[in-house]
Every structure is written in C-alpha cells, then in structure tokens.
Amino acid sequence: MSESELISACLKNDQTAKKQFFELFYSKLAYISLRYSKSKSQSSQIILNGFGHVFNHLNAYKSQKKYTLEEFVKTEFIFFTVKHIKSIRNEYYVASTVRAVENKETTYDLFLDNQLIDLKNISEDVVLKSIQQLVPSQRLVFNLHVIDNYTLESMSELLETSVQTIKSNLEKARFNLQKSIEKNLKMEKDEQPI
C-alpha cells in the first residue's frame, strides 16, 4: 500500500490501514514520548493519545506540501506531547519553580574517587534516563531545541513563554543534565560486577 493510499484508507477509518500506520510509526514515536515524559507509564499514555491526535489531523497533511509524512507525523506528535505535558499544570509549573531538598549529601566531584568520566562516550540509556530526571519545563526545552532542532522563536510560540525564559530554562537544563549524566554514569560503574 502506497503512502497516499494508506492515508486515504486511514481517513476512511479503515482499521487495517490504521494498524499498518500504527506499526509503521510506533517505534519512533514511542521513543519520542519517552524522551519528553518522566516515566514509562506517562509515555505509554502519551503514545495512545498522541496517535489519536495524529489520526485526527491527517487531513491537514493532504493540504500541505511542506513536510514528508514522517516529518508531519513527528511534528504533530511532538505538538501533542508538549501540550499534554503542559496540561499537567501541578507538575509543570510547580516543579519548574520549587525543588525538593534531599537530605542526602550528594557530591558531584568527578575526581573524588580518582575516576575519570568520559562524557563523550555515553550510552543511549544513560542520556534518556538523565533527560527524564529533568524538571518538565527544562526537559521540554532541551528536547525541542537540542534534539528536535526547534528555534527559540518557534519554541516560545509553542510553549507560550518568552524567549528569555526559554534561554534560562535551557541553561539550567544543560547544567542539570550534565550533573545527572555524571551521577548516572557513576552509579552505573558502581553497579557493574567486578
């Protein structure tokens, strides 16, 4: 089935075509949802609702010639994901301003145990875990700007915030991500059997 046939079948609410479409884009969109969410349970909820959003907006793909199908599906899914995370207001707004203070004394001194951590050779899982540990506002900004190549202006439109706020969030995200990557790498090394 060609791309246009698949889309027209999906628009006619053909379940087999929809399943085919789902299988085609699931793996990519599932990973995107994992990057944007804080946990697996949240990402699974985003995937299900996000696919519904994509199916509902397939009509718009026919009328435009700017994006390919993959790009169109990806942008629509990211748009939905951002709106979904922003809609969890108690998590999004409170977490961005208040941080719980842990009693544990954490030290991020890289040379404390005379261990050199190479930040240029990081595994995919460590980066994903570190991104998920970020505060929602910082996670969104980092994902949009660094991974998905969104400009600051388009991000300010999407997040409905000023460019300055996005810039400051991006700086915080970079700092916190590096610290959390260091921490996770250290933990990974400690857990490894000798």
Binding site: Y26, Y31, L48
Partner: protein, 220 residues
Amino acid sequence: MSSQFSYELDERQIRLLMQDAELEFDSAAWDRFEQTVVTETKSQLHTFTPKINFAISRSVIVPAIFIVLIGGLSAMLFSFVDFKKKDTVIKEMPLIPAPQKAKPSTIATPVKKETVTSAPPSKPAETKVAIMPSVAAVVKNPEPKKEEKTVVASPPVKQKAIETLVEKPVILAVQKKKIIVIPVSPRRRKKSTYEEIPTIQASSSNLNAENTTEPELELK
C-alpha cells in the same frame, strides 16, 4: 549555577543518539490503542457538550479582564456622583436677584395686571381681582348704587372700570388700607344709646269677643 561549571556535553552526539533511536514494536500497544479509541468514541457519544476553544493568549485575556473590572468600578462610582445637579446649581446662581433690585420688580406689578385685563373676561379669578377694588371704591364714593349697577349690568363697563383701576393701583391700595383701618370698637357699641320702643297696650285681652260681625261657618 556555579561559575566553575564547564559544559562538556557534546550536543551533536546526543542529537544523533536520540534522533535515530527507536523502541521495539509492542503488539499489545495496538490493542490498548483500540480500546482507548473505543472508550473515547463512546464517551464522546454520551457527552454532547461542544468543545469551544478560543485561541486567545493570556496577554489579551488578562488586560481585558482588568479593563472590564476598572470600567465597572468607575461606572459604579459615577452612578453615585450626579454631575447634572451641580450644573443646574451653577446656572441658577446668577439668576438670584439682589435685594435692591427686588423693589422695582414689585412696582412693575401694574404692568402685569394690564396683561390680565387683556385676557377674556370669562375667567373668574381675574374678575374677582378686579371687583375687589371696585367694592372699595363703592365704600368711598358718595353715589354707590350707580356704580354697582354699571358693574353688574354691562361687562364692557366693568372692563373699563378695571382698566381705570389698573391705571391707578396706588390709590386702590390706599383705599384698601382705609377699609382695614376703620374697625368699630366694642366700647362705642356699649356707649351707644338704646331707643326705647313704646309698648302697645291692648284694649281687651279677648280679641274674639269684639269681632261679632264676622259670619260664623255653618257646620253640616
């Protein structure tokens, strides 16, 4: 953030890592998706409330709400304050006459009376005003009966009399004063001599006895 912080992450590498990353397909995911779609459609059928989304940003709504609030409050305040009354007071102030100018206005009253005489004589109030001084004139005049007749008999004569009276208002006022000033004191009444009326002495107590010539009625 500390000033000693140096960003060592290679963002390009992270981008390449994350952009191309994929998850393994989960066959159960499609079943879950179908279930959620079915439940959503059912819930949509049950709830017929239309979803209205206005794409108005917060920067528009918040100032609009404030403007409405301020406008409402100011309208409430304006409703308590009446500006029209103040305007009327200011206008009336110059119209208040000075005490010196009041007297000429009272003198000018006869002119007003002329206007009253020009009106039709059918109005009762105006005729009364005109008649009152004429009655006073009757009191002073040596020939009162003739004047009274002229007033009652012919209305044009009455008008003439009114006009003459109107032309001399000051005199009329004096005549009025004279009428009021002459009251009859109760002492004089006491002093006045009473005339004794002569009593008639009847010749006989029984009057019927003398009238014998009158015919008696015959009773059947």
